[in-house]
């Protein structure tokens, strides 16, 4: 224990501010009051949302505070279907498969798999960089910079291929999900705007110069930028986007005997470390 004679040089206003909040919840979002109702962003959930709005409308409301029309929520739902595949080779899904092999609970497996997708390379976090790129590119474009120049600037940074977040997909060239989503957009009668138009122009440059294409992240970032969403809002609304595929991969290994998912012999691990040595006394 310290002697109680040391000054913390504290700001008394902050102590007062904290004291006023002890034991209290001040929510900008909503809450549940038994007998009165449940509220989310100003809506009574049971009277105005449940049964009236789709689950994805409620999900987007909870994640961003915005209540969107059903077609846009349906579009986001369709994207979710594109982002979660039951293939355990995908990194986050393999977490689910390993968790199944190790007999964790399905909830642990699913949530840690979703957490594994919090990556700089793939998953919801890439929305931040993807949106930064396309929204920044549009500003430049409006100031007279051409799509060719935008791509050239990105290429100069990496001294070669322009590794722009939202373009050049790892593992495969091209992205079949974009075509599927283009159909969905048309079916839902959702038109894209200037971000998407520029995103396509940039893609065209990449096709011609580098034989590379947009990926689904680039498509989502441009499309939802056209509907007024920020990168952070997209990060929030896609937080659990891979969960369903992780669950699927968990189940597959959970039902099989333990130790049989990609079994490893001792020498299947390539040891590249220091050779055997004596522990000094």
């Amino acid at each position: 224990m310290l002697l109680n004679n040391q000054a913390t040089n504290s700001d008394l206003d902050i102590i007062d501010y904290l004291d006023q909040r002890r034991g209290k919840v001040i929510s900008n979002t909503g809450g549940w009051f038994p007998g009165k109702g449940v509220f989310s962003h100003g809506y009574s959930m049971l009277e105005e949302l449940v049964g009236e709005k789709s689950y994805f409308q409620i999900l987007i409301l909870n994640a961003t505070g915005k209540l969107v029309e059903k077609p846009l929520a349906d579009w986001v739902e369709a994207i979710y279907g594109c982002l979660s595949w039951p293939d355990p080779r995908i990194w986050c899904n393999q977490i689910g498969a390993l968790a199944g092999a190790a007999r964790t609970s399905v909830v642990a497996a699913t949530t840690i798999g979703a957490m594994a997708a919090d990556s700089r390379s793939y998953g919801p976090r890439t929305r931040l960089e993807g949106v930064k790129f396309i929204q920044g590119a549009l500003k430049q474009y409006k100031n007279g910079v051409t799509p060719q120049e935008i791509v050239a600037a990105a290429a100069a940074k990496t001294r070669g291929k322009p590794y722009i977040v939202g373009y050049i997909r790892p593992i495969a060239k091209g992205d079949e999900r974009i075509e599927a989503m283009e159909k969905v957009s048309k079916q839902l009668n959702l038109s894209a705007g200037e971000h998407m138009a520029l995103a396509y122009q940039i893609e065209q440059v990449l096709i011609e110069k580098y034989d590379e294409r947009m990926n689904i992240n680039g498509y989502v970032c441009a499309f939802l930028s056209d509907y007024g969403f920020s990168g952070q809002e997209m990060y929030q609304m896609f937080a659990g986007m891979v969960a369903s595929g992780v669950t699927a991969c968990y189940l597959d290994t959970y039902k099989r005997p333990p130790d049989t998912f990609l079994p490893l012999r001792c020498d299947d691990i390539d040891y590249q470390g220091t050779a055997r040595r004596q522990v000094p006394d």
């Binding site: 310290l2 000054a7 913390t8 040089n9 504290s10 700001d11 008394l12 902050i14 501010y17 904290l18 034991g23 209290k24 919840v25 929510s27 900008n28 909503g30 809450g31 009051f33 509220f39 915005k66 209540l67 969107v68 029309e69 846009l72 609970s105 642990a108 790892p170 593992i171 495969a172 060239k173 091209g174 079949e176 974009i178 075509e179 283009e182 038109s191 894209a192 705007g193 200037e194 138009a197 396509y200 294409r213 007024g228 920020s230 952070q232 809002e233 012999r265 001792c266 020498d267 299947d268 691990i269 390539d270 040891y271 590249q272 470390g273 220091t274 055997r276 522990v279 000094p280 006394d281």
Partner: protein
């Protein structure tokens, strides 16, 4: 509340390029995973069963006989056994960090898990994820290590002269002015600042004790001077800054620092979660409706 439901205006025609068949890049993935940390030696009649393990070349059984847990912990991450002085510095820090305390958000998360009758096996992953945050967590440790690396050759007073604007916003833990931002602002001095309005005396004392140890290095010493320079304004060491300085002085990389902080705080998180796991759900406060305000 805003609504973004209208179709955006088209200012030019949106023409999608012709879609082509997706092709695998056939990237050259390694045939085997590799590690410099651990080698398992197979038994002669079953290649899946190990008869021994080497940690950076040292036989695990021999380490069990001859070395302390802290020595092997250091070896695991750094690749070499520590000197006696390094062990002393790391072990002292490990004791200091063993429990973030029942008021830390991570520990509160652990206690919620426990009292909520969640599977106790979930206490650690849940609470340690909270201990990975960028405020008083692993994220801040990593940022603080980068901060120390960048400025530990700069005189602390000079730093403050060079960053007068930063001083005004120095890690305010309570920002009453702005709740509208998309992202929370990051501290200009990660690992240092005001906690609950003033200097964190526990963090200061822990740093004070660590700095006297033989293996204390430049980062701890610079941090100490920096904290003293900040003191008149009610700012000082955060525990994350202290951890960052010790990790830096022991040669750990910033990327490792955050995860190490989570590891070293884990015992306290689990202990608090388990403590309430058998208690009724009423054993912890539940805010009354009267004390619940919706700001809209």
């Amino acid at each position: 509340m805003s609504s973004s439901t209208e179709s955006p205006a088209l200012n030019e025609s949106t023409t999608e390029p012709k879609r082509v068949k997706v092709q695998s890049r056939n990237e050259p993935f390694s045939a085997r995973a590799s590690t410099r940390i651990w080698a398992e030696q197979p038994s002669s009649d079953n290649p899946y069963i190990a008869i021994g393990a080497l940690c950076h070349g040292y036989d695990l059984f021999e380490l069990m006989d001859k070395r302390s847990f802290v020595d092997v912990f250091y070896l695991l991450f750094r690749g070499e056994l520590p000197s006696a002085a390094e062990t002393q510095l790391l072990q002292t820090l490990m004791i200091a960090l063993i429990n973030p305390g029942p008021r830390h958000p991570a520990t509160r998360a652990a206690m919620n898990v426990g009292v909520g009758k969640t599977n106790p096996l979930h206490i650690l992953p849940i609470a340690s994820a909270v201990l990975g945050g960028e405020y008083q967590g692993g994220g801040e440790v990593e940022n603080a290590m980068r901060f120390l690396r960048k400025y530990q050759k700069t005189n602390p007073s000079d730093f403050l002269k060079q960053h007068p604007a930063d001083l005004q916003t120095l890690a305010p833990d309570v920002d009453v002015s702005d709740q509208s931002g998309d992202e929370t602002p990051t501290s200009p001095t990660p690992g240092f600042g005001k906690r609950h309005g003033g200097i964190d005396l526990m963090a200061a004392e822990i740093a004070e004790r660590l700095i006297k140890l033989e293996a204390a290095g430049e980062a701890l010493k610079w941090g100490d001077e920096f904290a003293k320079t900040l003191a008149p304004s009610g700012s000082g060491w955060f525990i994350t800054g202290v951890a960052a300085a010790v990790f830096a002085d022991l040669g750990f990389q910033p990327k490792a620092g955050g995860a190490l902080f989570q590891l070293l705080g884990a015992p306290g998180l689990v202990a608090h979660g388990l403590e309430v796991a058998n208690k009724p759900i009423t054993a912890m406060p539940y805010v009354s409706d009267a004390n619940y305000t919706i700001e809209r």
